[in-house]
Chain length 354, copies 2
């Protein structure tokens, strides 16, 4: 008997319909609801050519220089998790967005919202991790702002980082540049960030401790650029919404079809096990230290080889291809010879993952 | 009988000592506690030459271009108030910070934190005001981000804006450039933003409705630049912490003394009356549409005249001077011939004013 039938019989309460006149958690998930919010409320009001590109970062001109600019507010819960905290994540998230546009990250701003009563030792650990990540990434944090709100009006720490980078010469990856014939390479194993957060949040003790993959990806991007240069057509880090959402966005923006090979996806055993336990699909789980790269098929092996020579890219793998069929759809070829459409996440699978 | 005496007699509870190991509301007030937080926890970790300038915006180099970069997170409560809302305020606050560094605002990013359950009609009004302010300021909003947190984990809307501007030629106002002999000019009447917020927050009905002065100050700065050029030594918009805090920061950074003439301060009658009622000192009340300019005394009249020719500068006035005496102190010459030191705000007079 379905829930609807039970509800009709008065045996269970029907779930209340989600209010359509209010913001829901799913609007922040990076999936379909997020895309709707963007399309219906933000883009029409701020329409301009730069914003319309919808890249990981905007590319703007100041005088004679072309810059990449990216902004992200981090609201991850809990603030600290295996492999990092909100401070290191806020640096990695933004420098990676710049790197995905083919830019060298140079400067960061940081805007904090602190909740009254936040213990200073938590703030200190967050700032320590942030400072270490800034140093490691070779960027400068040049300006900041701190606001404090009353207890119960925020959740510990929210932090916005905005990054400015300088575009590298002859290297213009963009989400609308995927073409049939491109191979799709992933730089490392997927699902670790999301599962690390979920485990920390739910107090789950898995047999194997899973750490977030949160890392600065610029050195790895620069390695790929050194090997392939302008042949790289698309770069994207599959964060909120996971690999599935990132590939759906690229398929839509480029107007192409995407085929993924299920057996080629590098999913660590512990991530698989945790996903099974939690009822999650690893394709939708957030990553903070891997990217997908689209390159002409002839360069696929070179790309994988170049990535594997860097510690962050040891798990690089060829996972799929761009096809002319089924434009704007991502299709997964399963291990048993079947196939299924991998859609964008409809709502919220994992709120507050970054 | 003092409160302490009453407390000792068991007649009232002593106020609990503020915890020193936790963030307090006053850390976000723009006063002494904010300065301590910055000095003790942020600056030592992110030390670099640009950050150390502590201007309203950072000045950075990208290739051959010098840019100004400024970030601010807005947490104002209530979200809507007479004269604006958090959307217009978030644009004005950041473009003004760029203008104070002598930069022409070009690009903005916007990072939203939305609380689950926020009515869309509120969000729509905020975005409408933001879009109008962006258009009026002639800037482009080029990239954005939206996060959603659970009900009760934020307060409606927080929004970070980060702005990028291009430095105007031969115009380098900076907070450490004040020199004895400079005249201090204010571009308009003070106290309106803070009082408008307090009135909206407390549901106070004053006889005269006081509107926030929130406005884009770049055209007024550009007018002053046209009249005086590089002679302008310091510009600062006295937002959080008011005129008193802004002048104290300048006195400290320039190592000079500042004298203010109480009778010259342009305080609108309704602001005076409201301040008296609420027990506030207008010198500490936030403004979002005025700036102080330091210019050599010989140019003071020219500066006031230039400002008064613009609608936003009609209330411009000469309010004080830079002196060699009492370095790092701001002293108010009162109407009755006395004087008192105007210190930075120790803690929180008006939380969540911007």
């Amino acid at each position: 008997m379905s829930l609807d039938t039970l509800a009709a019989a008065g045996l269970v309460c029907p779930a209340p319909a989600p209010a359509t006149d209010r913001v829901q958690l799913g609007h922040g998930s990076g999936g379909k609801l997020s895309a709707t919010l963007l399309r219906e409320r933000f883009l029409p009001r701020f329409r301009n050519d730069v914003l319309a590109q919808l890249g990981d970062a905007a590319v703007v001109k100041v005088g004679r220089e072309e810059l990449a600019v990216s902004t992200d507010t981090f609201v991850v819960s809990p603030l600290e998790f295996p492999g990092g905290n909100i401070g290191s994540l806020a640096v990695h998230g933004t420098v990676n967005d710049l790197a995905m546009m083919g830019a060298r990250p140079l400067y960061l701003s940081a805007g904090f919202v602190l909740e009254e009563g936040l213990p200073f030792d938590v703030l200190d650990r967050v700032l320590d991790a942030m400072a270490a990540a800034v140093r490691e990434a070779g960027v400068l944090l040049v300006t900041g702002d701190t606001k404090v709100v009353e207890r119960g009006k925020a959740d510990g720490i929210f932090v916005n980082t905005t990054g400015i980078g300088r575009l590298l010469p002859a290297f213009r990856p963009a989400p609308d540049r995927a073409r049939p014939g491109d191979a799709i390479v992933i730089s490392g194993p997927i699902g670790r960030h999301g599962i690390a957060i979920m485990a920390a949040r739910e107090g789950l003790g898995f047999e194997v401790r899973i750490e977030s993959d949160s890392a600065n990806l610029f050195p790895l991007v620069d390695r790929l650029r050194g090997a392939l240069g302008g042949a790289v057509s698309v770069l994207r880090d599959p964060t909120r919404g996971g690999v599935a959402s990132a590939l759906n966005e690229i398929a839509t923006q480029s107007g192409v079809g995407i085929e993924l090979d299920e057996t080629a996806l590098p999913i660590p055993g512990p991530v698989s096990a945790a996903c099974e336990l939690l009822g999650l699909d690893p394709l939708y789980v957030a990553n903070e230290g891997v990217f997908v790269a689209f390159v002409p098929a002839a360069f696929a092996d070179d790309a994988v080889e170049a990535l594997r020579m860097h510690p962050l890219g040891r798990g690089a793998a060829l996972i799929g291809r761009v096809v002319q069929e089924h434009p704007r759809l991502v299709v997964l070829r399963t291990g048993i010879g079947g196939s299924r459409v991998v859609d964008m996440l409809p709502g919220d699978q994992l709120p507050r993952i970054c």
